[in-house]
């Protein structure tokens, strides 16, 4: 590529950011900018500068000044990842009347200075990256963002506390909300809890007023016993397909009087709401304060559905609200934004064989204990052993079950410390039993949390620092007989201890929903290897996702307590309200377009597109891309045998030139450092 004859047609400015010492500490930025101005002039570089913080207002002004004075037609900024500051620098260019898409941000921080230690190699790599950016930017075209209107309605998936909060915020602002909940009632895990830490106020007492508000709100459409099946469209214009499971109850007739479940002869272990400790009927509402108040018939257990006879509920229903012929309904709603607040599943403590859950009767999980302690629970709030009557005299509470453990989940479940302290208090208060808390570290970092810890110490709970090794009923001496023995190293003493107790409570950790990966796929967002959904930025954008228009709130993003879930619900709502009020949204103009002149009509691209954005004109025998549906992946561009499809923003010219640039093939050969070593 002899550049001698060619006169560069564009005037390019190169800006190398120090990012304090983040880049300059490893990459010799001065050398890089000088190199760019010396060696890339044939490519059109007319100015190359380095500056301490390009993203600062002074840094941006520097670019704007050059655009005006040096008449730059292209800008390359070598700084951090485009995912962080691409918008910043595009806006800077826009401010100086340069089309924002004529600016290219190349990453010499995340991809260079932060990941390499060899300063010389890192500096050389920075040069190559900038060279690639320059070669590419020349082929950029001025683009205009696509503007699409935003539908004012919002879909919220998950009716736990995070979803409830978000729904109320948006509905109160006057916009419609669809709240989809898989269970027969909203309320989520919070409805199961007895008390909430650290204030010890009754969970149901603070939750149910909010549930009632949701139920009565004119802007909220509740879709309980329902699941999202499919999501089409994009930000501003989603079409969501929802399956509403048959309740077998005519909700327009049902008064929620409760005669049906009184009369129902079929008793079922309630492994959901009562955590397997209590029973419900085959027709039921999960709990008395359920919203909506209508029951459902569980068609897996209902005698009529199993054997074909019974219909006791139907016989006794005073309003004839039972309808065994109801079918699942599929409905589609249109929304502009989506909040996912699907919460968490409890870690299955049976997976820890040494803790004996499921094998030793008096080993309970945290959820079981919440129900035991709850006055609306199966024992009326009496804390008793599995025999249903004996009050324990000593209780061991085990922290970190299934959390902070590479055999199960590596992360800290965040709530178990406070929850276990709460349990210690409740056991102490209700039974007077001796309570041991077995912990690795006590983590109480929120407001009034550590004070709560102090209070529990003061109440006389015995703290043993050590991860419990095993819980067994194999006694070694008469003192241990008939007890559960908690075997642990008391690490502060440095000795192994065997502590006999009557009851053990396992603070099992929080896990992503078992189907979180499938859910992420449905909504087109990403989830971490653990299964928690990934936020746009872990610190600065915790409720948005990489997919425009899809937000996350509550434990779906990671384990957190009630206050944090509420904050996220409200935060996601605020983000969406801001968008709705703008009435339209600008989308990246990264789209494919087909040059009809070149299209041979082979239709290879038609089947490749997952969004059905390519239509084929039978009359003219050519294909065409619908820009509203195209998401810009570029697969069709790569596949077109005729080269008839252009990918805006990622065109062949751009990428092929960038390859040249990265390999330093575009250099004026005078002083070039050969990156491609001469070969024999």
């Amino acid at each position: 590529m002899s550049a001698e004859e060619k006169k560069p047609k564009e005037r390019v400015g190169v800006y190398v950011c120090h990012c304090g010492t983040n880049i300059a500490g490893v990459v010799n930025v001065g050398e890089v900018s000088k190199w760019a101005s010396d060696n890339l002039s044939d490519e059109g570089v007319v100015v190359a500068r380095d500056y301490k913080f390009m993203c600062s207002s002074l840094g941006q002004e520097l670019i704007q000044k050059d655009i005006k004075e040096q008449k730059l037609t292209r800008v390359v900024v070598a700084a951090c990842s485009p995912h962080l500051h691409e918008k910043t620098f595009r806006n800077a260019c826009k401010g100086a009347d340069l089309n924002p898409y004529l600016c290219e941000l190349v990453s010499i921080r995340e991809q260079d200075s932060w990941v390499h230690t060899d300063k010389i190699a890192a500096t050389e790599k920075a040069k190559a990256i900038i060279s690639g950016g320059v070669a590419r930017v020349i082929h950029h075209e001025p683009l205009e963002p696509l503007h699409v209107p935003i539908h004012p309605a919002t879909l919220i998936v998950g009716g736990g506390i995070a979803g409830i909060q978000a729904a109320l915020e948006i509905a109160d602002a006057g916009f419609p909300v669809y709240l989809v909940e898989r269970e027969p009632s909203i309320g989520g895990h919070m409805a199961q809890f007895d008390k909430t830490f650290p204030t010890l106020d009754c969970s149901a007492c603070i939750l149910t007023p909010k549930m009632v508000d949701v139920g009565n709100h004119k802007n909220i459409t509740m879709l309980t016993y329902s699941e999202v099946q499919k999501v089409d469209g994009y930000v501003g214009n989603f079409a969501v397909t929802i399956k509403k499971r048959a309740r077998y109850i005519k909700t327009e007739d049902c008064t929620g009087c409760g005669i049906c479940w009184e009369k129902c002869p079929k008793k079922v272990i309630d492994d959901h709401f009562e955590a397997g400790l209590g029973y419900r009927k085959a027709v039921y509402t999960p709990f008395p304060q359920a919203v909506p108040k209508y029951p459902v018939i569980d068609d897996i257990n209902c005698t009529y559905f199993v054997k074909g006879t019974c219909k006791a509920c139907e016989k006794f229903c005073p309003t004839n609200a039972i309808d065994f012929n109801q079918k699942d309904e599929i409905l589609t709603v249109e929304v502009g934004n989506i909040i996912l607040a699907t919460g968490w599943d409890l870690f299955d403590a049976r997976r820890v064989p040494n803790y004996g859950y499921g094998r030793l009767a008096n080993v309970f999980t945290n959820m079981e204990f919440e129900r035991l302690s709850n006055s609306a629970g199966p024992t009326g709030g009496n804390i008793v052993l599995r025999d249903g009557k004996t009050t324990p005299k000593s209780v061991g509470i085990v922290h970190c079950v299934g959390s902070r453990d590479k055999n199960y989940n590596n992360y800290c479940s965040a709530i178990c410390c406070m929850q276990s302290l709460k349990f210690a208090h409740l056991v102490h208060e209700k039974t007077g039993a001796t309570v041991y808390n077995f912990y690795i570290d006590i983590r109480t970092p929120a407001k009034a949390y550590d004070e709560f810890y102090q209070r529990i110490i003061e109440e006389g709970t015995l703290f043993v620092r050590g991860k419990v090794a095993e819980i067994t009923d194999a006694a070694r001496n008469p003192g241990e007989e008939g007890k559960l023995i908690v075997q642990v190293e008391d690490t502060l003493v440095g000795k192994q201890r065997r502590i006999p107790v009557d009851m053990v409570i396992l603070s099992a950790g929080l896990e992503p929903r078992y189907d979180s990966k499938a859910l992420a796929k449905t909504f087109g967002i990403s989830c971490s290897a653990d299964g928690w959904f990934i936020e746009r930025h872990p610190k600065l954008d915790p409720v948005a996702t990489m997919t425009e228009g899809v937000y996350i709130a509550g434990c779906v993003q990671g384990p957190k307590d009630i206050p944090a879930s509420v904050v996220q619900g409200a935060a996601a709502a605020a983000r969406i309200l801001g968008k709705i009020q703008q009435k339209e949204i600008a989308l990246e103009p990264v789209r494919a377009t087909i040059n009809e002149e070149q299209c041979s009509g082979c239709r290879i691209c038609n089947t490749l597109c997952p969004f059905n954005a390519i239509l084929f004109h039978e009359d003219r025998m050519v294909s065409e891309v619908n820009p509203a549906l195209c998401q810009g992946c570029g697969t069709c561009v790569a596949a077109c045998p005729a080269g008839a499809i252009a990918g805006t923003g990622f065109s062949n010219e751009q990428i092929l030139s960038q390859i040249d640039g990265l390999l330093l093939l575009n250099l004026n050969k005078k002083e070039a450092v050969p990156a491609v070593l001469p070969q024999v």
Partner: protein, 168 residues
């Protein structure tokens, strides 16, 4: 365990161990973010790979890969979201199919197929991304410089793929 490393192949022209030049293609959603994640977490890896961001690994036109080899790259990395996690539904499967095809073509052209690597990395897998790059660099270093009987720049891969008249 003082295992002496095998003598690395030396580049004939320099008295330094051979440092391969590699081009990497990432998708915008998972693997580029994995690279970002590696950076944010300050994970260290070999500085030999220079990345190009595509929207999707499905955008990867085999021409890009051949162009990179023709331009003197010793190896090419193609990375995308894990199968099933593609931001564009299934397009990374298309990249995978092209990958196998490209390996075969490379072999026919006399280039070791091991110089082309496919790597799935989710946005959270910075560590995997970093480790795999370091590993790949070692593998390519063991293969030595790309020994293709052309000088750099000798093969012109046209930026514009020529359009031939197609009889409808």
């Amino acid at each position: 365990m003082t295992d002496t490393p095998e003598t690395k192949p030396l580049d004939s022209t320099r008295d330094k161990p051979f440092e391969p030049v590699m081009i990497g293609f990432t998708c915008n959603w998972c693997s580029y973010r994995a690279a970002d994640m590696a950076g944010i977490s300050r994970m260290k890896y070999a500085p030999n790979v220079r990345l190009i961001r595509l929207m999707c690994s499905g955008r990867l036109d085999p021409t890009f890969v051949f162009k990179a080899f023709a331009g003197g790259a010793d190896a090419v990395l193609v990375s995308g979201c894990h199968p099933g996690d593609c931001h564009y539904a299934t397009q990374n499967y298309k990249a995978m199919r092209r990958f196998h095809l490209m390996q075969r073509v490379l072999a026919q052209m006399g280039i070791e197929p091991a110089r082309l690597k496919l790597l799935w990395a989710s946005a959270a897998e910075g560590q995997i991304f970093a480790n795999e790059i370091t590993k790949f660099v070692e593998e390519v270093r063991a293969l030595g410089p790309l020994n293709w009987n052309t000088k750099p720049n000798a093969v012109e891969v046209p930026a514009e793929i020529p359009v031939e008249e197609v009889q409808a």
